[in-house]
């Protein structure tokens, strides 16, 4: 086992780690979005809260939770390591560099988009996850969500982060398949399209919550907050 | 005393090499490790020799002036490599390849060497395929062949228009493998600047580290030169900028005879010169002549665009003059014909020194897709350089210096007249006579390196197993290094007014004008004086900036140009001496009534091997008579 872990030490191995953890997080995003969509049921938040309860009490999900945090941690640490390593590979920068001529903005700024998403994630966890899991607040999760989005800055931060998440995924999704070796004449174009669609789905899906709740469209917020 | 013993094995032509291989002396494996061989040059011949010798167990050092062996100019060969595989079932055989090569060389090559080359050709293809060289294939998965200038069978193997690249990368990979194994130590960015002689044998070299300027001494039981051709003596050629004569010139001055120095191949299909800033000429593969038709306007000074000139006003002069071979006549014939029409004032383009190579008819016949598949990368390259699109308007081409058939005289073992000093590939004179056929240079380079030298060098080294290695503190090394240092210091101290390029360009102009496509006694005599004058000019007026102990490309060039000037003189002497026309050597005094080259077998059926007699002294001409036991020289006819 130790011996085979060696494969992850090389530059190729490390980016395999990025790809695998990245794709795992994509699966989580999909699941998370499914859960969040319960908020649009206009049932006073019942379905959403039940879904939340199910997650908390299901033993398998609890186990996956550790895996999830491990995945995030690995994804972040590996990115950090690779970034530092890559900085070292070019100690003197170019005076003039026209990278826009050879690569996409998304692909070159994974570090920036990723870092901001990480900051958001910490705030996000503090707002919803830590308070409910460890501090035992007595309001329902649905209520907290609806309430949080009434704040200007939180709604704005959320929206902004989701746009960046879209940008991150737009490169990340197809990049992961490239890293796993799935790029060939038949598959790369479809994968790129699927990647962009997935990124758009996540961006629009998650990005809809701050907008819907902030402006109380279709009464999504008032339905839960009961005004 | 004539040292020209060609050491051709006895017996019938077909069995000479086989017999040689089974009777040649061997060095036992345990001794090989203790024997050191220096290989100078890392092109097809050098890289393959270094790899093959290391595989046998010899301790090898290999030198190249570029930053990697993979840069050697073999990489630029486009068209292909010949081999008598007869995969096309069109009547090819070892004998036919041998015959075509001797005939193509205008009967100025050694039969035994050429036959060996043809014999080995098939093994080269096997070897390269085993190395993973991606030759062109047919849909059935087997290798594809095409026909190539000057022959009537399809025996040329190719990898798109980059055959040289793929073969060199194959040899480079074999070399890299040996470097990894520790059998070869590679010295990149190193230039050989002197041969070290001990007791009449080549025992090492002085090399200059081109990054630091340091002079290094290297001992070897034998020294193998594979340093390519000297076409850059003409300044403009299709050779790489760094291609030079320095290594073989030093060898010549240490006693290695120089064979047929004036035999130069002028390639008919190059992109014409566009201005006086021009630094080199670019070849367009000869394969283009398979589908392109060469023509000029019938009228003198016709400046209309090619598309505007109707068919009846075009002169497809190769098809007209040589109906049997048409556009596929050998290189020397095609080049001379182009020069003739331009001399008549019918040349095209701004300079009037170009002819059209037109694909209109083949695009019409085969469709653009087929032409693109065959020549896409060449068309692209042409467009990049000239800005014209050859799918729309004909290419403009003109002959340019491309290959030098002359080089160090070697015997059957590829050893020069200096014991222990070998010459492989383009830098020897051996296989192409007075004119090389297309797709034969790659064949010769790899044959020499992979399959000849590993056998023949053993014959010499078998006597050296007790020789031990000589410490480089030996006075001969001291002496050699001192002479190199003195020469460099002298060059640096001149501090004249002309740049190295100025002087090189002057040399090129003299050589191209008087010792190029057409040569005559009067012009050559004049050129001889001019080159001798130029030599004085060089040594009194060259300007080299920078210092000695640093990366100094001007100094590198200066050393090379100084040698080119001296070589230029020898080429002129050789051209003067050879009063016949043969192959690429066209003496205007010796032509048939309709302007074709006329050989003089009675007086010139020999290899001219020039011997250095000391600075300021006339070199001495030695002759190796050529005997033709199998092929009977006839006047070449491609009509």
């Amino acid at each position: 086992m130790i011996a085979s872990l060696k494969m992850f030490y090389t530059t190729v191995g490390r980016k395999l780690v990025m790809a695998l953890t990245g794709l795992f997080l994509c699966v989580f995003l999909l699941e998370h979005l499914y859960g969040n969509l319960q908020l649009y049921k206009l049932d006073g938040g019942v379905a959403f809260n039940e879904y939340g309860e199910f997650l908390v009490h299901n033993i398998v999900i609890r186990a996956v939770e550790y895996l999830l945090f491990g995945g995030i941690l690995l994804h972040v640490l590996d990115a950090l390591f690779l970034t530092l390593h890559n900085r070292k590979a070019r100690p003197v920068r170019y005076a003039v560099s026209h990278q826009s001529g050879n690569s996409s903005w998304f692909s070159r700024n994974m570090g920036i988009t990723g870092s901001i998403i990480l900051v958001f994630l910490v705030i996000h966890l503090k707002t919803f996850f830590i308070s409910h899991r460890f501090q035992g607040v007595d309001t329902s999760m649905a209520h907290d969500v609806a309430a949080a989005f009434q704040s200007n800055w939180y709604a704005a931060l959320y929206l902004f982060s989701m746009v960046l998440l879209g940008a991150h995924l737009n490169h990340g999704f197809q990049s992961a398949f490239q890293t796993l070796g799935w790029n060939n004449h038949r598959w790369m174009k479809p994968l790129k399209i699927v990647g962009t669609l997935f990124a758009l789905l996540m961006m629009i899906g998650f990005g809809s919550f701050p907008i819907m709740f902030y402006f109380d469209l279709f009464g999504v917020a008032s339905n839960i907050l009961g005004q | 005393m004539n040292k020209l013993d060609s050491k051709i094995p006895e017996g019938p032509l077909e069995t000479k090499w086989t017999k040689f291989k089974s009777t040649v002396r061997l060095v036992n494996p345990a001794n090989k490790r203790r024997i050191e061989v220096l290989v100078v040059g890392s092109g097809l011949a050098g890289a393959s020799a270094a790899a093959a010798l290391s595989e046998l167990g010899y301790t090898v050092k290999c030198f190249c002036f570029q930053d990697s062996p993979r840069r050697a100019h073999s990489i630029a060969a486009q068209g292909g490599i010949n081999a008598a595989k007869n995969y096309a079932n069109d009547g090819d055989s070892v004998f036919r390849l041998f015959y075509d090569t001797v005939k193509g060389g205008d009967y100025r090559a050694r039969e035994a060497n050429v036959y060996r080359l043809a014999e080995i050709s098939t093994a080269i293809i096997d070897q390269c395929v085993a190395q993973g060289v991606p030759f062109a294939r047919e849909y059935g998965g087997l290798l594809d062949n095409r026909s190539f200038g000057g022959v009537q069978v399809s025996r040329t193997f190719y990898a798109r228009g980059q055959t040289g690249q793929q073969l060199l990368l194959g040899a480079y990979s074999a070399l890299s493998r040996q470097i990894d194994k520790g059998g070869v130590k590679m010295y990149n960015r190193h230039e050989m600047v002197e041969v070290v002689m001990i007791d009449g044998k080549a025992r090492g070299i002085i090399a200059r580290d081109l990054v630091t300027g340091e002079l290094e001494r290297h001992f070897g039981h034998a020294v193998v030169l594979a340093t390519g051709g000297y076409g850059n003596v003409f300044y403009l050629s299709t050779n790489a900028m760094g291609s030079n004569t320095t290594a073989i010139w030093k060898a010549y001055k240490k006693g290695a005879y120089f064979g047929n120095p004036c035999f130069t191949q002028i390639h008919p299909t190059c992109i014409p010169v566009s201005g006086d800033y021009q630094s080199k000429l670019t070849l367009m593969s000869e394969s283009l002549r398979n589908d392109g038709r060469v023509w000029v306007p019938k009228a003198k000074g016709d400046k209309r665009k090619a598309e505007e000139i109707p068919d009846e006003e075009r002169d497809y002069y190769l098809e007209r003059r040589y109906p049997a071979f048409g556009n596929l006549v050998p290189r020397d014939v095609a080049s001379r014909a182009a020069k003739q029409v331009c001399d008549e004032g019918r040349g095209v383009g701004p300079s009037g020194l170009a002819v059209f190579l037109d694909f209109r008819d083949s695009i019409k016949r085969l469709g653009r897709a087929v032409i693109e598949e065959r020549y896409g990368n060449l068309f692209e390259m042409y467009e990049k350089i000239t800005g014209d699109d050859p799918y729309q308007t004909p290419m403009r081409i003109y002959p340019a210096v491309h290959y030098t058939m002359g080089g160090l005289w070697v015997d059957y073992n590829l050893m020069t007249t200096v014991p222990g000093l070998y010459a492989l590939g383009e830098c020897n004179f051996s296989d192409h006579g007075a004119n090389r056929l297309g797709a034969s240079a790659l064949m010769q380079g790899l044959a020499d390196g992979y399959f000849v030298i590993p056998y023949t060098i053993g014959d010499y080294l078998a006597d050296e197993i007790r020789t031990g290695s000589t410490p480089t503190s030996h006075p001969a090394f001291e002496e050699a290094e001192k002479s190199v240092k003195e020469r460099i210091d002298k060059l640096m101290s001149i501090k004249g007014k002309q740049t190295v390029e100025d002087l090189h360009k002057k040399l090129g102009k003299i050589m191209w004008e008087y010792c190029g496509m057409g040569r005559n006694a009067e012009g050559l005599t004049k050129a001889l004086g001019m080159v001798r004058e130029l030599k004085k000019e060089f040594w009194s007026d060259v300007r080299i900036p920078g210092g000695t102990m640093e990366f100094n490309t001007e100094l590198d060039k200066a050393g090379r140009v100084a040698d080119f000037i001296e070589l230029g003189e020898l080429m002129i002497l050789d051209a003067l001496n050879r009063k016949e026309s043969c192959g690429g050597h066209f003496r205007e005094e010796s032509q048939t009534e309709d302007g074709e080259a006329k050989r003089d077998d009675a007086n010139f059926s020999y290899v001219a091997a020039w011997e250095f007699k000391g600075e300021g002294q006339e070199p001495v001409l030695n002759k190796e008579d050529l005997k033709f036991d199998v092929v009977h020289p006839t006047q070449r006819s491609y009509k």
Partner: protein, 252 residues
């Protein structure tokens, strides 16, 4: 199109690997647009030598776009802005009158500057020596046609083998990664039956050599593919990743 243009050149000058370098600015009036980029530098150097100054050192050899020796970062792009072109094949007709042209050496810790625009690319040699070959000794190869290879495979292997080892992929990669160079060789041999016996060992050793030489890691930006003068596809990097994964999982 103007026959001549006037340019300002901003060129990196550095005496050797130890001293630090700086930019110098040179006026280049009357540049003939039919010249190649290197010929333009020849003209500059000719002038510098006449003025008693040291010429700009740059690597070049074949000037036909195949040896891979030339290496310049021109106006922020490896080998300049033209697609599929080496510096030696870049002609001045693609520049505008009055333009300032910035010329820098390849920048990577694995490619230290030797002088001016000349860099040391021996990292590539190390990668090749680690497995960029098929271990077949001279003389014992079977007949070339005893091993049929599907044309599509052979063609794709050729596409990879067309790499000229110039280093533009490293130069243009934001991480100075040599993945495209490395993958071209791995992919060529992975596509051919001749490469099969050493397949696993090769990819593992070559990746290790790549890392040891100090190249960065690939983040799939595709810049290498866009700048490669021979148009080598990053699908070869995907194949390399596949080979690596397979080799790692099966080994030990």
């Amino acid at each position: 199109m103007a026959e001549t243009i006037n340019l300002k050149l901003k060129i990196w000058r550095q005496k050797n690997s130890k001293e630090s370098g700086r930019f110098e600015i040179y006026d280049m009036p009357g540049v003939n647009t039919h010249m190649s980029f290197l010929e333009m530098l020849d003209v500059l150097n000719d002038r510098l030598v006449r003025e008693g100054k040291e010429p700009v050192a740059f690597d070049h050899d074949c000037r036909e776009g195949i040896c891979g020796m030339c290496s310049m970062y021109i106006n922020g792009r490896a080998h300049g802005m033209l697609k599929g072109t080496t510096t030696c094949q870049l002609h001045m007709r693609h520049f505008h009158d009055g333009e300032t042209v910035t010329i820098e050496p390849w920048r990577a810790s694995a490619f230290p500057v030797i002088r001016d625009l000349v860099v040391d690319r021996s990292g590539f040699e190390k990668i090749m020596q680690a497995g960029g070959y098929i271990s077949v000794n001279t003389g014992n190869a079977p007949d070339a046609n005893s091993l049929p290879i599907a044309k599509v495979k052979a063609d794709e292997a050729f596409d990879a083998a067309a790499c000229i080892g110039c280093g533009a992929c490293v130069a243009s990669c934001k991480n100075a990664s040599a993945m495209l160079f490395l993958s071209a060789k791995v992919s060529q041999f992975a596509l051919l039956p001749q490469g099969e016996p050493e397949r696993r060992e090769r990819v593992l050793r070559m990746v290790a050599a790549h890392d040891e030489a100090g190249f960065g890691s690939c983040t799939n930006t595709g810049a290498c593919e866009a700048e490669c003068p021979k148009g080598i596809s990053i699908s070869h990097i995907a194949r390399l990743n596949r080979e690596y994964l397979a080799a790692s999982l099966v080994k030990e």
